[in-house]
Symmetry: C2
Subunit: 180 residues, 2 copies
Amino acid sequence: MGFNLEETISLLTRTPAAFDVLLRDLPEMWTLRNEGEGTWSVSDVIGHLIYCERTDWLPRVKVILEFGETKTFEPFDRWGHAKESQEKSLGDLLHEFSRLRSENLRALRALNLRAEDLSRRGRHPSLGVVTLAELLATWAAHDLTHLHQISRVMAHQYRDAVGPWSQYLGVLQCAGHSSS
Amino acid sequence: MGFNLEETISLLTRTPAAFDVLLRDLPEMWTLRNEGEGTWSVSDVIGHLIYCERTDWLPRVKVILEFGETKTFEPFDRWGHAKESQEKSLGDLLHEFSRLRSENLRALRALNLRAEDLSRRGRHPSLGVVTLAELLATWAAHDLTHLHQISRVMAHQYRDAVGPWSQYLGVLQCAGHSSS
């Protein structure tokens, strides 16, 4: 169950295309509705993934490599994506997410990380000391947390339509866990 | 939030390709491990989706149209997929799922269901009376419940690797809900 860089990159490479195939040109009933006030639609989630590509993963990798524990990561803005999500179509957001992810994975490979780099330490504003391997594992698991979330947000739109089957559908029992 | 046949078919059309793009040729660490004894791996889930295409959705649609409430659906075997899942590669399972889904959606369209057909009633062995619209809505929501499940099963493999970030990842707080 340990961290493996190639296995991590394999997953990070595939998720943008999987979101694209699932969501592009899907009726807006599935993609623009949320789970109630203050919650995210599918479009908001893709906007958030874009914002993370820009401000979170690779920038933090570079902070660890350059400054180690001496420089705390910039805090992450959970609503930083809001403007872009509202202004762009879902199709454009999906395209932008794929483009940024490819660019960031190219840059990650260009770092030629060695096994010993993976244990280098950085400082998270709330979590304290973290390692580079933990940051990279979280990048992949974060894609999965939002795949988990969008399947729940979409299923929620059919909560009533499924009638008595709702009790058999695990996704409809999921109340969400934190924000996603 | 009501049932809509075209919106339902839109989703059912896309999910097999989304599973394929996400999972094909992914390292086995992600696809062959489960969440512990008696739980399903990603491969088991795709085997289950195949088994449902063969024995559940369209066969039950036909029972409703032909017999209404007078004939109870065949009970569903939750482990009916086990043999096929073990004997086939994940690549073959993904291909089979796509093939069967296309075939079933062609057959569904060929039924030319009218609005009044959607309220026709059938009899589920445990849930009692259900409607055709509820059955079709469940077909789509069931894809989402298993997308929700596989994202959780995969994230579980990195539960330790993410270190202190685990508390921020919603998918790692999800204990599952019933079996999926």
